[in-house]
């Protein structure tokens, strides 16, 4: 039949066929539209609504760190921050050049910002602002606020940031916070379930979140961090917030808890000022309970510089500074204790029973043992010394003799009783144990037997012996407390310290009394090495103490003969460290202190006045009075917040 038609007629017939085909296609498309937009419309409407609601992580406010009287040491501060929004900037280079007129903008930072702007655009996250500068000064902030409108895509805002209002004062105690690094993520998310870990990582990566990297900030990370919340937010496909929805209070962020340290910030300040630029350390301990009231290590660094990332150049400057500001001297500095160790030796001698307090030793200025001669610090000698005078005059010969009689093992045992060789973490980082040497240690570490001559050195606090200023302060506090057990603390109200050490080895009260009288003699009896420092200048209370001079290196015979080993004739780095330990008031001890003045040369000359003034300040300020947190302790604390957020999708 088709054959009979002309092509023209066939064309018309085929047109009809094609119209039919086209009509079928049209009907199919309309049918599909009906299916999607009538039959399944409700389903897809629901999907569309779910699609755009995200639970966005709301970062918690980090808890404050306060001193014992509630003075803020680390807090959240509102600071000016300028950023650029990539999607609102057409020429980032030009915008940054404009910004450069108002703020200091080094090339490296400029490049980093440009790179980040580019990355955000590629990720279609052009709405995520890129921080150009933080911690704007008030003047910068005010000027930028005014001029922001003239610049494309520039955003000037206040943002919450960690701040250390007392700067350097607490650098070594508190440490600092920083943006979480890959290491921090691994370290902090250890032992979490995979589900928790996801939220946790999301939290740690949040631009407003910092984690404790050093010191108390690191130790109390979980306590301070708080729990993130979830905000219901309408977002677009790229995660850009479009609209806030009504919030569920149960999903609000729980701020971190405040942490109290036992330190009195004003005493700390006074102690640092008293150092007047010298390097060294001072630790003040409350004799009644072992609370650390001041913990000074100077010079120090400014932890504020670390919060938003310190530049490599600035860090190198700190690291290579000859005064070593990064070095936590108070709990991580190991020094030979020198004569401040003599109370330990005396206690060991009395405990062992081989020496009685009244036993005398004649000091001629030197002491012969084997084929070597040991010298007393006083060239002409002290004459006849009993124990009280031995301590008071710090007679080396007396201690050579009683140390030899007592033996190294007994001295080491008593040293451990006082806490030497222990690591007192107290919630800080960088604490060290020092070293109490004994024959077993020497055999194991040096492969040599103990020479008896070393016991003599041990007797005057020299040789391998190394202690921290914190340990010295605790030793003094135990003597001042008549041997009462003591748990040193730095965290007043905060997380449990699992490294806590209680010093409760029994000390004989009679022996301690002899130490106290010796120390009183040092500062308050004519001829005592620290006689001039005994009066605290408060019209009554006196301090009792013991000086010490720690050799930085051995004195050569030639130097001894010439008598040139002090002052300007010797380079600073080689000068002796000056030490002083003391407690006050002498008749009713409340505060114990240790002071190390590096290269201060003379314990009684350089360190004793500091100890006196700091103790006087502690008494004047009544630093040991009831702390704020013990009044607040009966107020119910919020329940321990876990740091896992309520369930939410990882936006």
């Amino acid at each position: 039949m088709a054959r009979k038609l002309s092509p023209e007629a066939d064309f018309d017939r085929r047109m009809l066929i094609m119209m039919g085909v086209g009509g079928t296609v049209f009907a199919t498309l309309v049918a599909r539209l009906s299916q999607l937009q009538f039959l399944e419309a409700d389903y897809y409407k629901e999907l569309a609504a779910e699609n755009h609601i995200r639970l966005v992580l709301a970062p918690p406010e980090r808890g404050q760190i306060l001193d014992r009287f509630g003075r803020p040491l680390a807090s959240q501060r509102q600071a000016g921050r300028v950023s650029v929004v990539p999607e609102r900037v057409s020429d980032p280079q030009a915008t940054l050049a404009q910004l450069g007129k108002f703020i200091d903008l080094p090339d490296t930072r400029r490049d980093r910002v440009l790179q980040e702007v580019k990355n955000n655009r590629i990720r279609r996250a052009g709405f995520v602002p890129v921080t150009v500068a933080q911690e704007l000064s008030y003047e910068e902030f005010a000027r930028l606020r005014v001029h922001a409108v003239e610049m494309e895509g520039v955003d000037v805002q206040m943002a919450s940031t960690r701040s250390y209002p007392r700067g350097r004062d607490f650098a070594h105690v508190l440490g600092y916070v920083a943006r979480a690094s890959a290491d921090d993520l691994t370290r902090l998310s250890e032992g979490r379930s995979p589900d928790e870990q996801r939220t946790f990582e999301e939290l740690l990566r949040h631009p407003d979140i910092r984690v404790g990297r050093q010191g108390m900030e690191r130790f109390a990370e979980d306590w301070l961090r708080g729990r993130p919340g979830r905000r219901r937010v309408v977002t677009n496909a790229h995660g850009r917030p479009m609209q806030e929805l009504e919030q569920d209070p149960a999903n609000a962020a729980v701020p971190g808890k405040d942490l109290y340290v036992t330190i009195d910030a004003e005493l700390q300040r006074a102690a640092i000022e008293r150092f007047a630029g010298e390097s060294g350390a001072a630790v003040v301990v409350d004799v009644s309970n072992g609370d650390v009231l001041a913990m000074v290590s100077t010079p120090a660094f400014d932890p504020n510089a670390f919060v938003n990332g310190i530049s490599g150049k600035d860090y190198a400057e700190l690291r290579d500074n000859p005064m070593a500001p990064l070095y936590p001297r108070a709990h991580g500095g190991v020094y030979p204790p020198g004569s401040t160790f003599k109370m330990v030796v005396a206690t060991a001698a009395l405990e062992s029973g081989v020496v009685k307090p009244s036993d005398t030793v004649r000091c001629s200025g030197s002491y012969r043992f084997g084929n070597r001669t040991w010298h007393c610090w006083k060239k002409g000698g002290h004459g006849t010394m009993d124990m009280h005078n031995g301590i008071k005059h710090s007679c080396d010969v007396y201690f050579y003799e009683i140390a030899r009689r007592t033996g190294v093992n007994k001295i080491a045992e008593v040293a451990h009783k006082f806490g030497f060789g222990e690591t007192f973490v107290l919630g800080m980082t960088g604490a060290r144990s020092g070293l109490v040497p004994d024959p077993a240690w020497k055999q194991a570490n040096r492969g040599e037997p103990w020479f008896e001559g070393e016991t003599l050195n041990f007797g005057i606090g020299q040789g391998q012996l190394g202690v921290t200023p914190l340990q010295l302060a605790l030793m003094t506090a135990r003597i001042a407390a008549e041997g009462a057990p003591m748990t040193p603390r730095l965290v007043g109200l905060g997380p449990e310290d699992e490294h806590s050490i209680t010093l409760d080895a029994p000390l004989d009260k009679d022996i301690v009394d002899i130490m106290q009288s010796g120390m009183y003699g040092v500062t308050s009896e004519p001829g005592g090495t620290g006689y001039r420092s005994g009066d605290l200048g408060l019209g009554g209370p006196r301090m009792a103490g013991k000086s010490g001079t720690a050799q930085v290196r051995r004195i050569t015979q030639a130097e001894r003969d010439k008598g040139i080993r002090k002052g300007v004739n010797i380079e600073r780095e080689l000068r002796d460290h000056a030490l002083f330990v003391a407690y006050a008031p002498a008749d009713n001890p409340r505060y114990a202190i240790s002071v190390v003045v590096e290269h201060g040369e003379s314990g009684s000359g350089a360190a004793a006045p500091l100890a006196r003034d700091i103790l006087a300040a502690a008494i004047k300020m009544d630093s040991g009075r009831t702390p704020l947190y013990s009044k607040r302790a009966d107020v119910a604390q919020p329940p321990q917040a876990s740091d896992s957020a309520p369930e939410g999708d990882p936006a």
Partner: protein
């Protein structure tokens, strides 16, 4: 329909006839322009303006309640292209069919040469060599190929159609197939599957309307269906196979991984479905305004129409397209020359193929290929090609009684 007077011109006579019809004075200076089907042209422009309006919506920032600076140029660019396309369409519409026919073979040969040059020296982009760089000019020969192949095929049948009401012999159709397959093969090899398919669709429609016997049509369809498994296994690339798999999973309602290919389709379906019957309103589509649908300014622009104007808007748009295609087919039917008829069929089929394939793929009925929605999707080349096709159709309408020689066309 009388066919007398269509043949027997000498070469010179054909020229005279062509030149004569060029003179506007025949109908007064603006007679031809006045005789253009302005209601149809207005409809075409209206669809184009709808596209620009939808691109404005794509570039809208619902938070700022203002056009987003990044995407503010979408609709302006599109309006510019629409303007250029409009002028081109009117210009082409005024060209008599004789002139179109005269350019058919030079255009065809030129396109083949360019396609071969692309094959040899083409600039790579997106995994395919589609562009040719001639100094500062970058051309994509597969675009003019759409019109050139249509014109060449129409011209071939104009020359070969026997007089006296007889159907052309089979070898004529074979020749047409060859004319079609050379450029289609070259484009397919670039690879540019969507353009190759569009060429093939237009060519097959022309051969169909030129009167190839029905048994071959039925046979070809049968063969095609049988070849589907073989094509799937041996011809398709892995990513293309994945698209087909996604498509089948989507139609049969199986779960997909919601990523990549299926993410786009899934989000498109959500946008369309969420529009419901009457839509969420202009600039109000939550799915669209929050940029959940990838490529919403180009291939997936139908989704924002369906979401913001609902079933009414989507079906309305499809109806307007259907009306334009039916009108164009009737222009083909009314034309007195085989060139005019078949060229109109080819041009209409090209546009219709894009419209149907695009809707089908956005609605999840066809695999995702780079197919723009004619007149609406953002893009310059597609706009020019579609406007040129409409120009040819309008020319066929304007010159429906023009006599064309069967000679002198080579």
């Amino acid at each position: 329909m009388s066919r007398e007077g269509y043949t027997g011109f000498t070469r010179g006579e054909a020229r005279t006839a062509t030149a004569g019809s060029l003179r506007f004075a025949n109908f007064g200076p603006f007679g031809k322009i006045a005789r253009l089907p302005w209601s149809i042209i207005l409809l075409i422009v209206a669809v184009g303006l709808t596209g620009a309006a939808m691109l404005f919506s794509v570039g809208w920032d619902p938070v700022a309640q203002a056009p987003s600076p990044d995407e503010a140029n979408l609709w302006r660019d599109q309006l510019t292209r629409l303007g250029i396309g409009f002028v081109l369409m009117i210009f082409l519409a005024l060209m008599p069919l004789g002139l179109w026919a005269r350019f058919a073979w030079p255009a065809y040969v030129g396109v083949i040469v360019l396609l071969v040059l692309v094959e040899l020296f083409g600039v790579m982009g997106g995994g395919a060599a589609r562009w040719l760089k001639l100094g500062p000019i970058v051309i994509q020969p597969s675009e003019p190929a759409k019109l050139a192949v249509t014109m060449a095929l129409a011209s071939w049948y104009q020359r070969m159609m026997p007089t006296g009401g007889q159907a052309p012999p089979l070898w004529v159709h074979g020749g047409a197939l060859l004319i079609l397959l050379i450029p289609a093969g070259l484009v397919f090899h670039q690879p540019n599957l969507s353009t190759a398919l569009a060429l093939a669709a237009a060519g097959v429609m022309i051969i169909f309307f030129a009167g190839i016997a029905m048994r071959y049509v039925v046979g070809a369809i049968g063969l095609g269906i049988m070849a589907v498994p073989a094509i799937y296994t041996f011809v398709l690339k892995p990513y293309q196979r994945e698209r087909v798999d996604t498509l089948i999973a989507g139609i049969t309602g199986q779960a997909t991984n919601g990523l990549g290919e299926s993410y786009q389709i899934e989000q498109a379906k959500i946008a369309i479905g969420a529009g419901g019957f009457s839509g969420r309103g202009y600039l109000q589509g939550i799915q669209s305004q929050q940029e959940y649908v990838p490529e919403q300014h180009t291939d997936f622009i139908l989704t924002i129409i369906a979401e913001e104007f609902g079933f009414i808007g989507a079906v309305g748009l499809l109806t307007v397209f259907a009306f334009l295609f039916v009108w164009s087919f009737r222009v083909a039917g009314r034309n007195k020359s085989w060139f005019g008829r078949l060229a109109t069929i080819g041009a209409t089929s090209t546009i219709a193929f894009f419209a149907i394939f695009n809707s089908g793929m956005v609605l999840g009925l066809l695999p995702v290929l780079g197919m723009p929605l004619p007149l609406i999707s953002y893009g310059g080349t597609a706009m020019i090609t579609v406007m040129a096709c409409f120009g040819l159709i309008l020319s066929a309408h304007l010159h429906q009684d023009e006599k064309l020689s069967s000679r002198g066309l080579f």
